[in-house]
């Protein structure tokens, strides 16, 4: 199956370090590799500080990656960008941010915010064409055309996130990076936004990199999931593989931490703890063990044997 599908995004040994002081370097992302295929949704989960947002930002080149290779649709977008690759990247990859209020310019009307990308990249020949595109995308995300002349503060949180989605999708990008795009919303609105993103994917065939810390939401939207911890992808696989047969103790602890709306069961349940140092797990020593074509676990040989037997 994998051979026939072409990866849209190929990330190999991506490293993103931040120099804090002369002696101290934070290794936010420390050598991760994954592929995202066309039309699928790849979910990246992990706790805060695990480097999942940094990964997203390094791929879209909001940061300059320290090392590694990023191939996006045949274009090498790591290292110095030449003009052609840069413009290809900027028009074909888009990002949806976490806080919908902070990422929209409060002084611009929604219409201007959405049209900004089109104008900057000269993708339209006339004002009418821009208007038409903006109106189309507004219909798609479920906002009315009259709302286009309003300012961001006049919208509710869910609507603002729809504006953010419209802005990301207006240029018809191949890949959309959604960085915790539902965490700031209420539960009932979260479901609306997730459904909307799914519908748009069916309609436009967009590929998503969906970054979140909430595994249960990720399950609904992702085809494949990568679990990140401290800058490493510790386990990756299809959604079923991760949920049915988690191997890595960190994945298990994440799964056990999901609260279930079932009071009698939930009251008795105690979440698993995972402490890397207590278990003596060293991510840098481990290498990838392949369970199936899609399911991979980062471990040393001994750890892998132990975990496969179900011990922690």
């Amino acid at each position: 199956m994998t051979e026939t599908r072409k990866p849209l995004l190929h990330v190999e040994d991506l490293k993103q370090y931040f120099r804090i002081s002369r002696r101290q370097v934070t290794k936010a992302v420390d050598g991760i590799s994954f592929d995202i295929y066309e039309g699928e949704t790849y979910g990246l989960v992990g706790e805060s500080g695990s480097g999942k947002s940094t990964t997203g930002r390094a791929i879209i080149r909001l940061y300059d990656p320290t090392g590694g290779k990023i191939i996006f649709d045949g274009h090498d977008i790591s290292g110095r960008l030449n003009k052609e690759d840069a413009s290809y990247l900027r028009t074909n990859m888009a990002m949806i941010f976490q806080d919908p209020m902070a990422c929209l310019n409060p002084r611009k009307k929604v219409k201007e915010i959405i049209a900004e990308g089109l104008e900057i990249h000269h993708l339209c020949n006339s004002q009418e064409e821009i208007d038409e595109k903006v109106n189309n995308i507004l219909d798609k995300v479920g906002l009315s055309r009259e709302q286009a002349t309003r300012f961001p503060h006049q919208f509710s949180g869910g609507q603002r996130q729809r504006v953010g989605i419209a802005r990301a999708l207006v240029m018809n990008p191949k890949l959309v990076i959604a960085d915790e795009c539902i965490s700031a919303l209420d539960v009932s609105i979260q479901a609306q936004v997730v459904n909307l993103m799914k519908d748009l994917q069916d309609e436009l065939g967009t590929t998503y990199l969906f970054i979140a810390h909430d595994l249960s939401m990720v399950k609904y939207i992702s085809d494949r999931i990568g679990v990140m911890h401290l800058g490493h992808i510790v386990e990756t696989g299809t959604t079923d593989e991760i949920f049915e047969n988690p191997i890595h103790p960190y994945t298990k602890s994440l799964l056990s931490a999901i609260p279930h709306p079932n009071p009698i069961v939930e009251k008795k349940r105690i979440a698993l703890t995972y402490n890397k140092d207590e278990l003596g797990v060293d991510y840098t020593a481990g290498h990838e063990h392949v369970l199936s074509e899609t399911h991979k676990v980062l471990a040393t040989d001994e750890e892998f044997e132990k975990w496969m037997k179900g011990e922690i």
Partner: protein, 365 residues
């Protein structure tokens, strides 16, 4: 700090017909519209609702930290506690000046844990001094006693090296540790009521579970009453004995946790329960409540949830539903519970889910 024992079933706090409104530049917002709620000794009550449903405003009134443009129009919040000599005293928090509440009750009797642990700690003061501060300020302990007690508290909330943490500053700690420190400060003066306003939303899922387990453990040990404010039904299921679901400033459904989760009656609760992502089902689409919450600036006629409610009856648009008693502690504000109302079945998906939940929990009916 001698405390006088209360009976298990004694009412600590009772809110009656509370109405609160806020004056803004754009008009008056009626944030709370007739809330009635009781809190018993040693019990955990969870208030669930979307942002803007008025759950935070309710507890802020209890703490005397209502914003200055807010006014309590009517209603009462009766709080009963023992004073130093063991005399039972009753305060009406709705009538007391805010300053007096803060002076007499805050910290000593009612304590609060806020959402973001970074903003509720003083960045310029070591952890230890911040925990000692309320004890010394309220005259409960001398400096030496307070320091000793602070170390005990740090140990109690599950910090592994209390001596080291005692001298550290907030920025040196991780989010989960900070929230533990905030809980330690809240517990410093042995309060009767602990209010937790979204205590875990700023934290990761793995740490969230630990913090909730810790609060629960402390509550059982000290026999205090806890009010949780949250929008996460999973958290509610884990901690609460009693649930109140709020929508647009009213409590629409309340009851014992098992009653509300295994036999929900209000369409809004149905919506909330079905929009929770379920790890075990394979359905492709998530149920979403259509539309968005009403603007409370405008007068609400009838049931505030009616425009988003697929089961709305005609009367829902005309008249506000009263609280119907549906047995046990369960009360529901929906016309669907009226004896004259047509029988409405639960949504199919939710029915399946509840049946599965019951099976897991081992309930037969």
């Amino acid at each position: 700090m001698a405390k006088f024992k209360r009976d298990k079933n004694e009412r600590v706090l009772s809110i009656r017909d509370l109405n609160i409104s806020f004056k803004t530049n754009f008009g008056v917002v009626r944030a709370i519209r007739g809330v009635r709620l009781d809190l018993f000794q040693g019990e955990t009550v969870a208030i669930v609702g979307e942002s803007g449903s008025g759950k935070s405003v309710t507890v802020k009134t209890m703490m005397g930290i209502l914003d200055s443009n807010g006014t309590i129009e009517s209603g009462s919040i009766k709080y009963r506690c023992f004073d130093k000599d063991g005399q039972l005293q009753e305060f009406d928090l709705a009538k007391m000046p805010q300053k007096e509440i803060r002076y007499k009750l805050c910290g000593k009797h009612i304590a609060m844990v806020f959402q973001d642990p970074m903003t509720s700690l003083d960045p310029t003061m070591p952890i230890g001094r911040q925990i000692m501060e309320p004890m010394i300020e309220h005259g409960y302990a001398t400096k030496e006693e307070a320091a000793k007690r602070a170390l005990e508290l740090l140990d109690e909330v599950g910090i592994s090296e209390p001596d080291k943490t005692f001298k550290q500053y907030p920025h040196e700690l991780s989010g989960g540790m900070r929230q533990r420190v905030v809980i330690a400060i809240a517990l410093a003066c042995d309060p009767d009521i602990l209010i937790c306003d979204e205590p875990t939303t700023a934290l990761d899922v793995t740490i969230q579970a630990k913090i909730l387990e810790k609060i629960k453990e402390i509550q059982v040990k000290k026999n205090i009453s806890v009010i949780y404010i949250t929008h996460d039904l999973g958290v509610v299921a884990k901690v609460a004995d009693y649930v109140a679901v709020m929508y647009a400033g009213r409590i629409v459904e309340k009851g014992n946790i098992n009653e509300v989760f295994y036999d929900p009656r209000h369409p809004y609760t149905w919506g909330l329960l079905s929009s929770m992502p379920d790890v075990d089902t394979d359905s492709e689409r998530l149920f979403a409540i259509p539309g968005s919450p009403p603007n409370l600036m405008e007068e609400v006629i009838g049931d505030a949830f009616a425009p988003r409610n697929p089961y709305a009856l005609k009367i829902d648009y005309r008249e506000e539903p009263p609280m119907f008693d549906v047995g046990g502690q369960h009360r529901v504000a929906s016309w669907l519970c009226d004896p004259h109302a047509p029988k409405v079945e639960l949504p199919e998906e939710l029915k399946v889910r509840i049946a599965k939940m019951k099976k897991e929990a081992g309930i037969n009916d």
